[in-house]
């Protein structure tokens, strides 16, 4: 993984010193709250309901065991011994005091981490496929380019006071696991159809929030040496022309929508034509330097699917279920990537204790070259586990409560913090996730239902990605009560789609039954091998809508 050189290290230290001074100026009254807020946000500090929150970047979702141990320590010393992994490959601590933030940032800097640009109207931390570097369906590892963009976008003099936040995601694989189409910019590493050269296909204007939109192609093939100049051109068009009169219309998706993708493309290309990419782009040696950090670890020469692994699976159905459900094909024979679910039944999605972090760190050292990945589904991944050691790993995880075999299943629910923590929330989201997980707790039943993504947000800002959930749940307030709006048919993958609303909002206690009714329609009508979301696409929303509303009308009548 990437290691800071002297320049990166000095930069992060300077940043810590700068923020310490900013806190002092705030306390002295030199900075007003209005002036301080964007500064603290650009250092990851939010104010929530009960305390400050600190959002720490896990760039492109790659974390070392040493870093995870440091997070565990910070959780114990400055928080309540737990943290929350988010859909954007960040970690949030919920009980932080402002006065401690400089010290925490300094502890992060000790392990080459930071909270820079994890919030605010700037280019946010760049996210990538959690299986980067190990996925069998990958054209190229997206992390070197994500790191290049991270550096280029850090403390950018021109783009630190944008109309609104700006999120970039990159994937290098055939299957999009980074939800690139719902980011302000989505980059896909592609091969040129004629030359075979790799470059980028660029999507722009995706996003969720109150006006969900799927990104549009702005450039089908961007040669690699043009990347930073092209991004500079695009950001410049957005910074100059993005709306600033209404913060709900300030994202680039609205600009693209209002002037049209053709006009937007023309403006970006006109700006790009005036730039000299060689003055902006990192040179080839620098790109190569970054890429070297992501070289594959020293894999052993192993047979695939060795007898010991097969025997352990045959002898232990629970292990077999976990290996099948949470395993992910590795490009190297004899290895496997595995998801460590942070969705234990009844747990808060994405939460992990400091003790849990230490356990994962130790297991990563022991079984996965000391490396951990953070997924946008709020889970962790050990990317490089030998199949013949998977059973040992599973036993250790099971002892620590981290072996729930539900990756991608109906209880692998994404949920934002909602009204249990978040000052913007209109309703709670975590208790809904917990109730649903309990309802569908049976492993056999989950297996029977198959892959199904439920995503829950506690308000229209859509941090829980509800729009792109196969089933989406949005918490609102209705007549002084929490009320939940259910959507169906969203998709965050290659076939990205925004879900449709099924009917009137429900009280919290009615949500599990309503989801049961949707699942029942699927189970009754599915064709062999058809996934939930595929059935929805084939059948259309109507049969689900009818089932969903049947009970509700009875209740109301």
């Amino acid at each position: 993984m990437y290691r800071y050189d002297e320049f990166d290290a000095a930069f992060v230290r300077d940043r810590v010193a700068q923020f310490s001074a900013q806190v002092q100026r705030r306390l002295a009254g030199a900075l007003t709250e209005d002036e301080f807020k964007p500064l603290r946000l650009q250092n990851g500090v939010y104010l929530q309901l009960h305390a400050y929150m600190l959002r720490i970047a896990i760039p492109y979702g790659t974390l070392s065991a040493r870093q995870l141990r440091q997070l565990a320590l910070i959780g114990e010393r400055f928080d309540r011994s737990y943290g929350h992994f988010t859909t954007r490959q960040n970690l949030q601590f919920n009980w932080i005091q402002l006065k401690d933030v400089p010290e925490i940032l300094s502890l992060l800097a000790d392990v080459e981490m930071h909270a820079i640009q994890t919030s605010g109207n700037c280019i946010r931390n760049v996210t990538a496929d959690q299986f980067a570097g190990v996925a069998a369906d990958e054209i190229e590892d997206p992390r070197p380019v994500a790191e290049l963009i991270r550096q280029w976008s850090t403390a950018h003099p021109e783009f630190s006071f944008l109309p609104r936040k700006f999120k970039i995601a990159v994937t290098g694989a055939a299957e999009d696991r980074a939800a690139v189409a719902v980011h302000d910019i989505g980059l896909r590493i592609v091969r040129h159809p004629e030359t075979g050269e790799t470059g980028y296909a660029v999507l722009v204007g995706g996003g969720l929030g109150r006006t969900p939109m799927v990104g549009k192609w702005v450039r089908e093939f961007l040669p690699k040496p043009h990347l930073l100049a092209y991004l500079e051109a695009l950001m410049r068009v957005y910074n100059a022309e993005g709306r600033r009169d209404n913060k709900y219309k300030a994202r680039v998706k609205i600009l693209v929508h209002e002037i049209g993708i053709e006009a937007f493309r023309a403006r970006v290309e006109a700006e790009f034509a005036r730039l000299d990419p060689s003055r902006i782009q990192a040179d080839a040696e620098e790109v190569a330097r970054i890429a070297r950090y992501f070289a594959a670890p020293a894999y052993a020469d192993l047979p695939d699917n060795p007898p010991a692994f097969r025997r352990a699976r045959a002898a232990n159905p629970e292990f077999d279920r976990w290996a099948a459900q949470n395993g992910f094909p590795h490009k190297v024979p004899g290895y496997q990537a595995v998801t460590l679910s942070l969705k234990g039944i009844g747990e808060a999605p994405g939460d992990i204790s400091s003790a849990g972090m230490r356990l994962v760190a130790d297991l990563a050292d022991r079984y996965s070259f000391g490396e951990i990945r953070v997924t946008h589904a709020q889970n962790l991944v050990l990317p490089d586990v030998r199949q013949d050691e998977l059973f040992d790993l599973w036993q250790a995880l099971a002892a620590g409560g981290l072996a729930t075999a539900n990756a991608g299943l109906i209880t692998d629910i994404i949920a934002c913090p909602g009204l249990d923590y978040c000052a913007l929330a209109t309703a709670r989201s975590i208790p809904i996730a917990q109730a649903l997980a309990r309802r569908f707790a049976s492993p056999e039943r989950q297996q029977e239902i198959g892959p199904l993504a439920i995503k829950i947000s506690g308000c229209i800002n859509a941090c829980g990605h509800h729009h792109v959930g196969h089933i989406g749940i949005l918490g609102l307030e209705k007549r002084g009560e929490e009320s939940y709006q259910i959507t169906l048919g969203g998709d965050a993958g290659n076939a990205s789609a925004i879900g449709e609303i099924l009917g009137p909002g429900l009280g919290a206690e009615d949500v599990p039954d309503a989801i049961e009714r949707l699942v029942a329609v699927y189970l009754a009508h599915r064709q062999p091998g058809e996934l939930f979301v595929e059935s929805v696409r084939r059948l259309g929303i109507e049969p689900f809508k009818t089932a969903f509303n049947a009970e509700i009308h009875h209740d109301a009548a």
Binding site: R26, L27, A28, G29, E33, L47, Q48, L49, H50, A51, Y52, R80, W95, I96, Q97, L98, K99, A348, L419, D420, Y421, A423, A425, R428, I430, P431, Q434, G480, E481, E482
Partner: protein, 116 residues
Amino acid sequence: MSTAKLQPLPAILIANDLLTGDTVFFAGNGWTRHPGEALMAEDQAASLRLGEAGQEAMRLNQVVDAYLVDVDLSAGGIPVPRHFRERFRLLGPTIRPDLGKQAEFPGLAAQAGRTR
């Protein structure tokens, strides 16, 4: 201003402490972490004074985001916000009864009641 919206009563003043971020309540002679010690505004004039105290404390960089919250007093002296958002804010996360003021101040959760 005669057009100002009437503040539902009784009301307390709630904010976050600038330095710690902790939820705090105005107690008349400063800020307190215990809602039971919050100063109550029983009439419009008192609620205006409370609002001004909030503005002043923000100006003096003691707290941020100060605003009035209308409460119910039927719970044994503890002012319980009528809106569920403020109730959660006063008690702590509903999913972690071991954290927040509900855990810190014995009896608070029992008196202020959980959400309906």
